[in-house]
């Protein structure tokens, strides 16, 4: 397994976000290859399928397969769209941001190739509202590309035309869910839609739409330029390529690192992030963003790919690793995490709207010393009532999975909060938390 890097290969260069620097380092070569090399859209989809590239937004679905769901324009001539999911809001995740700030043309090129493959003529880049710099960098890149004849009508003098529009979100995590994103892009409350129908049949404004993550799309020019076989030299057979792993929490060197899929979590923690900070020991860790739940230290040798984590009872998610040292409290962590889902539930589904609040209330009571032993069973029971697949979207699952995880992996800590009437690690904690005023 090689440790080649490509995604972040340009990001250390000065002015890496500009067209000149991008072009000087292989940028738009893939697009030119496709447009001038006589590729058909179907061929491009096949290349992406062959590469085995899986979505990097958290679900890990085969990108080529997703693209192939778009209907044949001869049978369905309605306008069709690509929506780029730059809503990056999963706690622990800050890697799309790096690409948008430092390699925005990589996104533009990936978008253009995707649009060519799916015969889309308009793409919307939905950037979370808080990401000012990433938004502005991508907008500037689109403007540069437009000036250079790479965006708009008759790109590079061919009959391929494609518009790219920027669009801002306004702070709701649920708008990172593909159908919530589409509702929001249409100017509405970000309520996810029941599926079926699926976006390829009924997407933006009811038209065929594909939603792709930023990092996924930024892999595409490399796949086209260097070929699927090259792509498969990195990572594992079922999870090829590199990923951007975000490492945060109690580590020496938090950061976003480009790694092949399939390394062990221990390698990532120790080799890349410098191990647990301050000479302390690992207590618990999250592999793929808060939705994937807390794993015990004993799981640190798991392979960080889709299958490895599934077998460990978790998920790869956004590959956002968060580490807790021995002074940290897992119950407090779940108080914080469950509070997030309570805040972010859109409120449509009974189980999620009420369940996320209920879980947050229970974790808060446990953390503050008002927990009861029966609350632990109640947590599991409520999580079973919320998921799997009982609601319109997976936010309920995202709240239920970490709930199951703490009961399974850290039951003793939950029980200790009950018997101790509070956190046994209270000394290591911050003073009394300031309450937020409620509107």
């Amino acid at each position: 397994m090689t440790r080649e890097t490509y995604l972040l290969s340009r990001t250390a260069l000065p002015n890496s976000h500009t067209l000149d620097v991008y072009r000087a380092h292989g940028g738009y070569r893939a697009l030119e290859k496709i447009l001038k090399g006589g590729y058909t859209p179907a061929q491009v989809i096949q290349l992406v399928k062959d590469s085995g590239l899986r979505g990097r937004g958290g679900a890990g679905f085969s990108t080529g397969l997703k693209w192939s769901f778009m209907p044949d324009p001869a049978k369905d001539p309605r306008p069709r769209y690509l929506a780029v999911n730059a809503d990056e809001s999963e706690p622990g995740t800050c890697k799309d941001r790096v690409l948008m700030e430092k390699d925005p043309h990589g996104l533009v090129e990936g978008v253009l190739i995707a649009c060519f493959a799916m015969r889309v003529q308009a793409a919307y880049i939905y950037v979370r509202g808080e990401y000012r710099l990433p938004h502005d960098r991508v907008a500037a890149a689109v403007a540069e590309a437009r000036k250079a004849g790479l965006v708009g009508k008759n790109i590079l003098g061919t009959d391929f035309s494609c518009e790219i529009f920027m669009h801002k979100g306004a702070g709701a995590y649920i708008c990172g869910e593909e159908t919530g994103l589409m509702e929001s892009l249409e100017g509405k409350r970000g309520h996810p839609r029941p599926k079926p129908p699926f976006p390829a049949g009924f997407g933006l404004w009811g038209q065929p739409t594909t939603v792709n993550n930023v990092e996924t799309l930024q892999n595409v020019p490399f796949v086209i330029d260097r070929g699927p076989d090259w792509f498969k030299t990195m990572g594992t057979p079922k999870s090829p390529g590199n990923v951007l792993v975000g490492i945060s929490g109690h580590v020496e060197r938090p950061g976003v690192y480009e790694v092949p899929l399939g390394l062990s979590a221990r390698t990532l923690l120790e080799e890349y992030a410098g191990g647990i900070w301050k000479g302390r020991k690992l207590k618990a860790w999250i592999p793929g963003g808060s939705s994937t739940g807390l794993l015990p230290a004993s799981a640190i040798d798991v392979k960080m790919d889709h299958d490895g984590l599934r077998e460990a009872g978790s998920m790869l998610g956004t590959v956002s690793m968060i580490f807790l040292d021995e002074t940290a409290c897992t119950v407090r962590a779940m108080k914080v995490i469950s509070r997030f889902y309570d805040h972010e539930s859109c409120g449509q589904c009974s189980q999620c709207r009420e369940g996320t609040q209920w879980l947050a209330q229970i974790f808060a009571r446990l953390e503050h010393g008002q927990g009861r032993m029966e609350d632990i069973e109640l947590l599991s029971s409520l999580a079973n009532g919320m998921a799997p697949a009982k609601t319109i979207c997976a936010l309920a699952d995202a709240a239920a999975i970490p709930t199951h995880a703490i009961v399974k992996n850290f039951r003793a800590e939950l029980e200790a909060h009950v018997t101790h009437k509070g956190c046994p690690l209270a000394d290591a904690h911050a003073p009394h938390e300031l309450e937020e005023a409620h509107a």
Partner: protein, 479 residues
């Protein structure tokens, strides 16, 4: 139509509607909150869980309102997993719901109560404080909102968007902080507000008119037809302890009003309860109108007809077809009062014509007259009959009081008229006290049925007219 197996029976399902519609059509019990057959389905409450098996796929529990029917689909609405999913849903719904049943108007017709009894568990497990919101928020003249009771299924929001087609309510905020509201606390507008109290599955949106007025299990209900315009919406008349009409509600009728009625019709029942009914008959004696046995009054009227011939009849447009037929046979000239058009006319239900049976009476040969025309005609008559509920009000008591003494006027109405010209008055039942048929603006029949007994001494008008006809036959006349 698509064939599916529903709870072991092969049934036909309309492929244009979701599975839940087929379930309800074939009397399979599937609870629902956000789904309403008159509104677009959203699939958000998650209560309508059924077990579905299609082809080789394993059976799965899913929401019936967002499941398209498919040929050969096997549906089990009583599967244990479906019941378990519903139970879980209900526990979540009741977590924040205030235990207001003892003071809530919706008790007894509340879907949350009903499904909790059917599918829920006896005791909730939450020890968390419930959310606090506004409990008596006035939304204008018609509706009062209790935000705490609301379970956020947006039927009310969808109603205004899809039926009168102007959004007035929204879900605001998100998650467990969601609440229903208007913009800037403005009142609701328009003639269709009452419908949201019908469709709210709980007691969040209730009618001010009905607030604390009655417990619904003390109401007797009868199907009927609204008489406030020529749309003739199908309604249910609800009477408290056999006395007062307490509520009118729309009844589903796909041809006429679907699931809705307008507020004007909904709140028009006060007149049905006005005291001072004409019970029996009155005759003008030396000291004004005095009671008379009804059959004696009929003899007197038959006598007037023998002496003066068939009368000019000025009828109320509330007359039924059955009454109209009998009356037309007795009339010299048959007319009915045509009130002026109403400004409530809209694109939805209200036709702007305040007569429930213009079409029917016209087909029977009654000529429409404006009130002023009718009065002019009456002034020139020797003998006339004013027949039907509200006829006195339509012509106006003041105007009728100016009719000349030479006119022999007989009045058949719900309340005494007592103007100098009226020498004989007989009581008639009103629209909730008799059976009958109206023809609406499109010629569709609307039936009336008896929701409450007429006052003692008041016979159905059809019987009165039959009796009159019998007295007027030569055989009888000879007696």
């Amino acid at each position: 139509m698509t064939k599916i197996i529903l709870d072991g029976r092969e049934v036909e399902a309309d492929p244009k509607k979701p599975l839940i519609a087929a379930c309800h059509q074939h009397a399979a019990h599937v609870p629902m909150y956000c789904y309403h057959p008159g509104l677009s389905p959203v699939g958000s409450c998650r209560i309508c869980q059924v077990e579905v098996k299609q082809g080789e796929m394993p059976a799965r529990v899913t929401v019936a309102c967002r499941t398209p029917v498919a040929e050969g689909m096997i549906v089990n609405t009583e599967a244990p997993k479906a019941h378990e999913a519903r139970r879980q849903c209900l526990e979540f719904l009741l977590k924040n719901h205030p235990l207001d049943c003892p003071i809530c108007d919706k008790a007894g017709e509340c879907d949350l109560q009903d499904y909790s009894f059917a599918e829920g568990q006896g005791q909730g497990r939450s020890v968390e404080p419930r959310r606090k919101l506004e409990k008596r928020k006035s939304l204008g003249d018609v509706i009062v909102l209790d935000q705490e009771r609301c379970i956020l299924y947006s039927r009310c929001v969808r109603f205004f968007e899809e039926i009168p087609k102007k959004a007035q309510l929204t879900v605001a905020g998100l998650g467990s902080r969601s609440y229903i509201t208007t913009f800037a606390d403005r009142p609701l507008e328009g003639n269709y507000q009452g419908n949201v109290a019908d469709i709210c599955p709980v007691g969040a949106l209730t009618l001010k008119e009905f607030r604390f007025q009655a417990r619904v299990w003390n109401l007797t209900k009868a199907p009927s037809t609204c008489g406030e315009c020529s749309r003739g919406c199908s309604i249910t008349v609800e009477v408290l302890r056999r006395q007062e009409v307490k509520r009118l509600r729309p009844r589903p009728n796909p041809q006429v009003n679907r699931y809705w009625m307008c507020d004007h019709g909904r709140f028009s029942f006060d007149g049905l309860n006005t005291p001072g009914r004409l019970a029996g008959a009155l005759v003008r004696g030396t000291r004004g109108l005095e009671p008379l046995e009804p059959h004696t009054a009929l003899d007197a009227l038959a006598n007037l007809m023998r002496v003066h011939g068939a009368p000019l009849v000025v009828a109320s447009p509330w007359l039924t077809q059955e009454e109209g037929k009998l009356l037309a046979a007795l009339a010299g000239e048959a007319t009915f009062v045509s009130p002026p058009p109403s400004a409530l006319k809209d694109d939805l239900l209200h036709t702007g014509d305040p007569c429930p049976n213009r079409r029917g009476l016209s087909e029977l040969g009654f000529a429409p007259l404006a009130a002023a025309e009718a009065l002019t005609k009456l002034a020139g008559q020797g003998f006339a009959l004013l027949v039907g509920e509200r006829i006195g009000a339509l012509l106006g008591r003041e105007a009728l009081a100016t009719l000349p003494a030479g006119l022999r006027l007989v009045v058949l109405d719900t309340h005494p008229l007592d103007v100098p010209a009226s020498e004989l008055e007989l009581g008639v039942p009103n629209a909730v006290e008799r059976t009958g048929t109206w023809l609406n603006v499109d010629g569709i029949e609307g039936r009336l049925s008896i929701a409450r007994s007429a006052p003692p001494g008041v016979a159905p008008l059809t019987r009165t007219l039959e009796e009159l006809a019998r007295r007027a036959t030569p055989a009888e006349a000879a007696r």
